[in-house]
């Protein structure tokens, strides 16, 4: 596969653009545009957590939402470096394009990266491989162990409320007990833009700066800002096979089973996760603008289209959130 990001938006790397002319926000009469309002809200949340907590960390998956989170963090603290590291839970089933993208992003922006490798937990017996071979559910334990080991007290996630019904009820600041559990009935009221980050020792708070963004907002902002993304998000040729209505690809996580025919197709990914359960969609969208057109016209949600882990049951996401999942 090609490693080069196939779209060529205005590239502002290595740091967010320092341009002479300010963006067209806040003219005297107009309200802030939707994207400007969302950007300012997210930056406010990032700074609030940086101000209230001792050891925040960004959960980084290499997907577009966590990449956007990193982008916003760079902007929020400019011209100072981002005052917290990234944490990547590596299932060992990552797409190579994603790992390469991660390392390049970290190097270009002088970020600090902590990697929790699921392999280590499998090797010493703290985790055992599941019969179906998928490792997405195995991420929770390494995540919670890493939070405890590094004493992270605020964990930024790229979750958006428009993704799924259970996430629609998530607060921006969401306290977790020392087991990382989410208790929806005990959520704190979240009033105005006053966030309450109080927590007990050993507990941490999940913080979701992108709560109010939709998938389309994310793409529109990526287009506007020229946020770099892994090449997987854009159309490319790849060998795929169909399973449960999804197009999967072979990798360290396994390949086709008996009767699953492999074919070459032009595809792209709408979400990026564990290779064993993240499916591609057939698409010819090779630029951000083409992706936006495709997303706007799609009749399927991004997770519904391509994530087997969300299809387990009617309350799959709620159950995994309760257990401390992202």
């Amino acid at each position: 596969m090609g490693n080069v990001t196939p779209h060529t938006p205005p590239q502002h790397s290595p740091s967010p653009p320092m341009v002479a002319v300010a963006p067209p926000v806040g003219s005297e009469a107009d309200p802030l545009s939707t994207l400007d309002a969302l950007e300012s809200e997210s930056i406010h949340v990032l700074r609030e957590a940086a101000g209230e907590f001792d050891r925040p960390v960004i959960l980084f998956s290499g997907g577009k939402d966590s990449t956007l989170l990193v982008w916003l963090a760079i902007k929020a603290f400019w011209p100072a470096p981002v005052p917290f590291p990234l944490l990547h839970v590596d299932t060992g089933h990552n797409f190579p394009e994603v790992l390469e993208f991660r390392d390049r992003l970290v190097a270009e922006h002088g970020l600090r990266l902590v990697v929790a490798e699921v392999e280590h937990w499998l090797a010493d017996g703290r985790l055992v491989e599941r019969p179906d071979g998928t490792r997405n559910p195995l991420q929770t334990v390494p995540l919670l162990d890493s939070i405890a080991e590094h004493r992270f007290d605020a964990v930024f996630g790229g979750g958006r409320r428009d993704e799924e019904r259970a996430r629609a009820k998530e607060r921006v600041f969401s306290p977790r007990d020392s087991f990382g559990q989410w208790e929806p009935r005990r959520q704190r009221p979240e009033l105005w833009n006053l966030y309450n980050g109080r927590h007990q020792p050993g507990e941490h708070v999940r913080v979701f700066p992108l709560s109010n963004w939709t998938e389309l907002d994310v793409w529109a902002y990526i287009a506007r800002e020229g946020v770099p993304l892994p090449s997987l998000y854009f159309a490319h040729e790849r060998e795929v096979f169909a399973r449960d209505g999804m197009l999967l690809t072979s990798g360290p996580w396994g390949g086709p089973r008996d009767g699953e025919a492999v074919r070459r197709a032009t595809v792209r990914y709408r979400t990026v996760g564990d290779g064993s359960c993240t499916g591609a969609v057939e698409s010819t969208a090779s630029t951000v603008d083409e992706v936006i057109d495709e997303v706007a016209a799609s009749r399927l949600t991004e997770r519904g289209a391509t994530r087997a882990d969300d299809r387990l049951s009617e309350a799959a996401m709620e159950d995994r959130k309760r257990e401390g999942y992202f």
Binding site: M18, P23, T34, S40, R47, P79, R161, L300, A315
Partner: protein, 449 residues
């Protein structure tokens, strides 16, 4: 339709909250709004259709689109605030769908604290309930500028005009007593189940010539933010890179809470009372000629002052006087009752200080719009007037003048929970000192212009 969110017709964003009593059909109404604005995608609708069939229903139960928690679906009620996003060619909407059950009123307070419009739902067969009056009072208290009453299940009263008009009149009377001017209170007869007057005008209500609910949401003028108000900027974070490129850079990061700031403006830093001049308004995209409420920026001042998180940068001629004693109205949100002498934390802007509730002055009765003086305690969901003494003076405004700098949280230091929503001053003219029913001259709200 989804694409309209970024089209040329985007007129900013309307934040609204919905509230109703149990079984008013609110989740169905929200599901209907999402469905009829084509905000529901095929796999979501398939899932709802399948789940409805599993429950033996002939048609998709649209409430399942929004009731996301297992307990909610099992009990058929909404427990927590859910946020929904939809758009039409005219506007983008962020909807806070809040539960109706009285024990979850705190979530209604949450949803309404940022709303520019509240949709209250009643069942046409039952008319106004205690909860409706309560939700209207909460909306008035928090300064939600516009109220819309959706008289639902109009099909179940045979589309009867008299029933609708009597409910709408009751509601207008209650809202007016709460201080709402007539132009800010609207009613619309709907059937969320069938779709009458939600997104499509109904042929079954020929006596109703007004707009559909969606048209109301699209056309209600949203007051612009407080950009003509005195400038208020709570400092969130001090940016000091100490890098070779920026060895001496010192900027104060925050979000403009009220007013407009320009380079050259004289500012005062509270609570220390120091003054300086705004040298630059920085963002990662370059300096700005001005910044308005809602914008996250970094201020660089002309003088080297000792400023940190929790300080407030304000216009020099309009800076608030820091106060240790606060007169405030609380929505008490904790299970444990509030008694005089209780020690809590006040979070105001970016500052958190210890405080004592020294006096309970009155408990508000949102049904009779009266109040009882000097209550022994405030219980979960009570609204009351209190006096608070803070360990340090806070640069507060009256909530009526500036929501962002007149609002505060009370936090229980023992378990960290958010115990109350606090509003400085008397945000509701009908909350008297506690000498019997008010309502003599409920003035305009005055805090939403």
């Amino acid at each position: 339709m989804v694409g309209a969110r970024h089209g040329e017709n985007t007129r900013g964003l309307l934040r609204l909250a919905t509230a109703g009593s149990v079984d008013d059909g609110k989740s169905t109404l929200v599901g209907r709004l999402l469905h009829d604005t084509k905000s529901v995608l095929a796999d979501q609708l398939d899932a709802v259709t399948r789940a409805s069939a599993d429950r033996g229903l002939a048609t998709p139960d649209l409430s399942l689109l929004v009731d996301g928690l297992r307990a909610e679906r099992e009990q058929g009620i909404t427990i927590d605030v859910a946020y929904r996003y939809f758009a039409t060619p005219r506007r983008t909407f962020v909807l806070a769908d809040t539960p109706g059950h009285v024990q979850y009123t705190r979530n209604t307070v949450t949803g309404m604290s940022t709303a520019q419009l509240a949709v209250l739902l009643v069942d046409a067969r039952r008319g106004l309930l205690e909860q409706t009056r309560r939700h209207a009072a909460v909306a008035a208290l928090l300064g939600v500028p516009h109220l819309v009453l959706a008289v639902n299940k109009i099909d179940l009263v045979g589309y009867d005009q008299g029933t609708y008009e009597s409910i709408a009149k009751d509601f207008a009377t209650h809202a007016s007593a709460l201080g709402y001017p007539a132009g800010r209170v609207r009613s619309v007869p709907v059937s969320a189940l069938v779709g009458d007057n939600v997104a499509r005008p109904s042929t079954a209500t020929p006596w109703y010539a007004g707009p559909t609910l969606l048209e109301l949401l699209e056309t209600t003028p949203v007051a612009t933010d407080h950009r003509d108000a005195p400038f208020r900027f709570p400092v969130q974070y001090v940016i000091r890179p100490r890098t070779p490129e920026h060895p001496d850079y010192r900027g104060y990061a925050g979000q403009v809470a009220a007013g407009t700031v320009r380079p050259g403006d004289r500012v005062t830093v509270s609570p220390a009372g120091l003054t300086s001049t705004v040298a630059r308004i920085d963002t990662a995209d370059g300096p700005l000629p001005h910044a308005v409420p809602g914008q996250s920026v970094t201020l660089v001042l002309g003088d080297d002052l000792d400023i940190g998180r929790g300080d407030l940068i304000a216009g020099a001629t309009s800076a608030p006087t820091p106060r240790e004693e606060l007169d405030a109205v609380l929505c008490w949100l904790a299970d444990r009752p509030l008694r005089p002498g209780t020690r809590l934390l006040v979070k105001h802007g970016t500052r958190t200080v210890p405080a004592i509730v020294t006096e309970l002055a009155a408990r508000f009765d949102e049904q009779r719009l009266g109040s009882s003086p000097a209550p022994d305690l405030l219980e979960l969901n009570d609204i009351g007037r209190v006096r608070i003494r803070c360990a340090q003076a806070l640069p507060v405004d009256d909530y009526a003048d500036s929501h962002r700098t007149g609002a505060f949280l009370l936090i229980d230091p023992a378990d960290g929970t958010t115990a109350a929503a606090g509003l400085v001053g008397r945000p509701l003219p009908v909350i008297p000192d506690g000498d019997g029913p008010a309502g003599s001259s409920p003035g305009p709200l005055g805090h939403d212009a």
